[in-house]
């Protein structure tokens, strides 16, 4: 009989260098844990995140993608996070239409001082994705475990 493995989601987090990545570092210095299945990619600004990256993540088997940027009005690049907000609102609607539930994608504003918030956001997100279960939409079946 095949062993039923507990579902462990795989989550890609994009963090802007100036606020959220620093917030994640602060969560680390404060030993504020969050699940190990969150892996962070550092980008200069949340507006650097191309919708293609997110599609790629889902195609390659990610179960959730989260984008973190500076709070509106605090963007290091003045207006970058506003672009993110608008772009992602559209993309997430589109993904939802494709069958990737809205809960699997998220944009959060985390400042460099909000270590606790970073950890809380990640815990919450992982919990949500675990509830949703594995993402099967648009995933290239070859990347899934046999």
């Amino acid at each position: 009989m095949q062993e039923i493995k507990e579902f462990v989601p795989n989550i890609v987090a994009f963090c802007c260098n100036w606020c959220s990545y620093a917030g994640a570092d602060l969560a680390g210095s404060g030993r504020l844990s969050y699940p190990a299945n969150v892996k962070i990619i550092r980008v200069p600004c949340s507006c650097r995140v191309n919708p293609m990256f997110i599609l790629k993540a889902f195609q390659r088997g990610a179960d959730g993608v989260i984008l973190c940027g500076c709070h509106p009005g605090d963007c290091h690049y003045v207006t970058g996070n506003y672009y993110t907000r608008r772009r992602m609102a559209m993309l997430f609607d589109f993904l939802n239409y494709m069958g990737i539930e809205k809960e699997r994608t998220r944009v959060e504003w985390v400042s460099a001082a909000e270590g606790a918030r970073f950890s809380q956001v990640m815990n919450d997100f992982v919990k949500k994705i675990t509830e949703l279960g594995e993402n099967r939409r648009i995933t290239d079946l070859r990347v899934k475990e046999k």
């Binding site: 980008v43 390659r60 672009y83 990347v143």
Partner: protein
């Protein structure tokens, strides 16, 4: 194929206690491209860095991944070490296995597994890294200050003090700006002219400062360190070098009906005039709209009487081209137009005036020689009512949504000065909130109430109407919950302020951004409040937001410090992680330029070979690496995928995504 070296730091026990560093170092050896792998107790230590340098040389490494603390901590350290060993520093990436791994996970297997993935991700990125070179650009050691008010004057004086040349471009005939129009200044009540005019004289006398009055910026090209600016010197019909400021022309000029802008149009001036007694330069100017000679060709009286022979009716606008390393914007403010606030009866009643008009009515050099007389019948007003927030904090569309910041204080000042000079005058102030944050500010306001007996009424005025020669001010008194009607002789409106409208043109020329209220945007609201997002452009005074004189002067000096910091450099190093355009793919759609907050993207026409020996000229985007800040907004906007960001290229990030998702 890259030759990659991987270094796993223990960080004492910080990493090693949770991540099995030996296992990681061993496992990573199997990764394609990895030719060297090691672990060490403290990579950031002198010995650790030496280990890195030696390995780069011995193994001819072309790429390095360090598994250690956050790159925000030691990326610069490791990159410097790599550069010393002859490796391009941008060929090194840091995998964060401390803050984002060992510190937040307790289970060793789990943390080791994650560390492996993070390092593989960094390796995936490094495989696609390319050597990047920091650019260099020269610096023109001269600054431009746009606007000759107190902000511009202070910035120019401070820059000149450091030994750099500065030009002040002022659109009016004299420098001095709004502060020159003020009577007294809060909270000390010293005379505005007495503290401003010595600074104006300093500007005129400094051999480093060149004042281009009656001039406007027409064109700006270039970028930080290398601005090329075209300045229009408007024809003033008076030779600046010859005019001695003797004012004989003003006595003789027959056209005396021009409105005196300096006195807020409360009295008249001649067609040839010097704006005010202490004007700098103290040189006359002719108003071409008003001058009989310029309009009809007949008159020429001023020319006849000018002993210096300075009058020249043939004068034309001139253009001056100058180069600058830095630009300070200090264009200032003006009171808003209050025609939309007819409930206060400003347009129907001469005795309803604005606060700036009151400044002139109180000023010894003003139209009434400092005696407070109301405009309609030149009598002493016995009851004066002030209305605050006229147009401020107003989202109805008639006014401005913001607090103008200075009105509470200047109204307290006016009320106090009037009560002091004319103790028999009754003074009322309608206010919504009294906002007095600032050193000695609240004390100042309380003095108006407690010492001078100014009647502050919490509430707003609904209507001002004329009845039997009195101005009836009908408003609410919210504390007593009643509607009051105060028969007044003079009503003063604390009019909201707005940025001087010419700032829009300036911002466009400088590709500096502007907010919905026409205030210039600062680079960061808290940490970079004097820099504009456009490199090399700095902001001083009201053009950036409402502020009073002390704040304006502080910001101007801060601007000067930034400008000096820039001008002392011989060369500017530029961040190599900037956007670049693949011209073969670019279709010239302009979308990238539209999202760029820095104006770093311009368009050039380039010739491309299209086969068959033919060429075609296409419009393509071109990024100025000295101006680009590397946010990447353009890369995502670009519909054809022509824009990419060095150091964070789409391919690199895609490969990181793949590495993370690989199971």
């Amino acid at each position: 194929m890259q030759r990659i070296g991987v270094f796993i730091c223990w960080c004492g026990s910080n990493i090693a206690a949770t991540v099995d560093v030996k296992r990681v170092a061993e496992a990573i050896k199997a990764e394609p491209g990895v030719v060297y792998s090691a672990d060490y107790q403290y990579m950031c230590s002198e010995n650790g860095q030496q280990l890195l340098k030696n390995a780069i040389k011995e193994h001819n490494l072309t790429g390095v991944v360090i598994g250690s603390c956050s790159p925000r901590m030691h990326e610069a350290t490791f990159r410097r070490a790599a550069a010393e060993a002859g490796l391009n520093p941008y060929m090194l990436e840091v995998a964060n296995i401390r803050e984002q791994c060992s510190w937040i996970h307790k289970d060793m297997d789990e943390a080791t597994e994650k560390a492996l993935i993070l390092i593989r991700t960094a390796i995936a990125k490094v495989r696609l890294n390319t050597p990047l070179q920091e650019g260099e650009s020269p610096v023109t050691k001269r600054a431009l200050v746009i606007g000759g008010g107190i902000a511009g004057i202070q910035a120019a004086l401070d820059i000149a003090e450091a030994g750099f040349e500065v030009d002040i471009v002022e659109k009016n005939a004299t420098i001095g700006g709004r502060m020159a129009q003020l009577d007294k200044t809060f909270p000390t009540l010293d005379c505005s002219a007495c503290i401003l005019t010595p600074k104006m004289v300093d500007c005129a006398q400094s051999d480093k400062i060149d004042i281009l009055s009656y001039s406007e910026v027409e064109e700006v090209k270039g970028f930080v360190g290398n601005f090329k600016v075209k300045i229009r010197k408007k024809a003033r019909y008076v030779d600046e070098k010859k005019c001695t400021g003797c004012k004989v022309c003003m006595e003789k000029c027959p056209s005396k009906k021009g409105l005196n802008e300096f006195n807020m149009n409360l009295n008249n001036r001649t067609a040839i005039y010097i704006p005010f007694a202490q004007a700098i330069p103290n040189v006359a100017v002719i108003d071409p709209e008003q001058c009989i000679k310029l309009k009809t060709g007949k008159c020429g009286i001023c020319q006849k009487f000018c002993g210096a022979g300075a009058i020249n009716y043939e004068m034309k606008d001139e253009f001056v081209d100058r180069e600058y390393g830095a630009i300070v914007v200090a264009t200032g403010f003006r009171p808003i137009n209050i025609d939309a606030f007819n409930e206060y009866g400003y347009s129907d009643n001469a005795d309803v005036i604005t606060s700036l008009e009151l400044e002139r009515l109180m000023n010894a050099a003003g139209p009434t020689n400092g005696v407070l007389l109301r405009p309609s019948d030149k009598t002493h007003p016995k009851v004066i009512t002030f209305i605050q927030c006229v147009g401020s904090r107003d989202v109805s569309g008639c006014g401005k949504p913001y607090c103008s910041k200075v009105c509470c204080m200047y109204t307290a000042k006016h009320a106090m000065l009037i009560r002091e000079k004319y103790p028999d005058t009754e003074v009322h102030v309608f206010y919504i909130d009294v906002r007095t944050p600032g050193k000695n500010y609240d004390e100042f306001y309380r003095r108006a109430v407690e010492q001078y007996g100014v009647d502050y009424i919490k509430g707003m005025v609904g209507k001002v109407y004329n009845e039997n020669g009195k101005l009836m001010v009908q408003g609410s008194n919210l504390i007593d919950n009643e509607q009051v009607i105060i028969p007044s002789d003079l009503v003063v409106l604390a009019t909201a302020i707005e940025p001087e409208p010419s700032v829009r043109k300036i911002a466009t020329l400088l590709t500096a951004s502007i907010d919905t209220n026409n205030f210039m945007n600062e680079s960061h609201p808290k940490l970079r409040p004097v820099e504009s997002p456009t490199a090399g452009v700095y902001l001083a005074g009201m053009c950036q937001g409402p502020k009073d004189i002390p704040e304006t002067v502080s910001q101007a000096s801060a601007c000067a410090a930034k400008v000096i910091g820039l001008l002392v450099k011989d060369k500017l190093k530029t961040n190599p992680c900037v956007a670049h355009c693949n011209e073969m793919m670019c279709n010239g759609c302009s979308q990238c330029a539209n999202v760029c907050a820095y104006g770093a993207i311009t368009y050039v026409d380039k010739e491309f070979r299209i086969g068959g020996g033919k060429t075609e000229v296409r419009r393509v985007a071109s990024v100025n690496p000295a101006v680009c800040q590397g946010c990447g907004a353009c890369t995502v906007t670009c519909p054809s995928g022509a824009m990419d960001l060095s150091g964070f290229s789409s391919k690199q990030i895609m490969s990181e995504v793949e590495a993370i998702c690989k199971r």
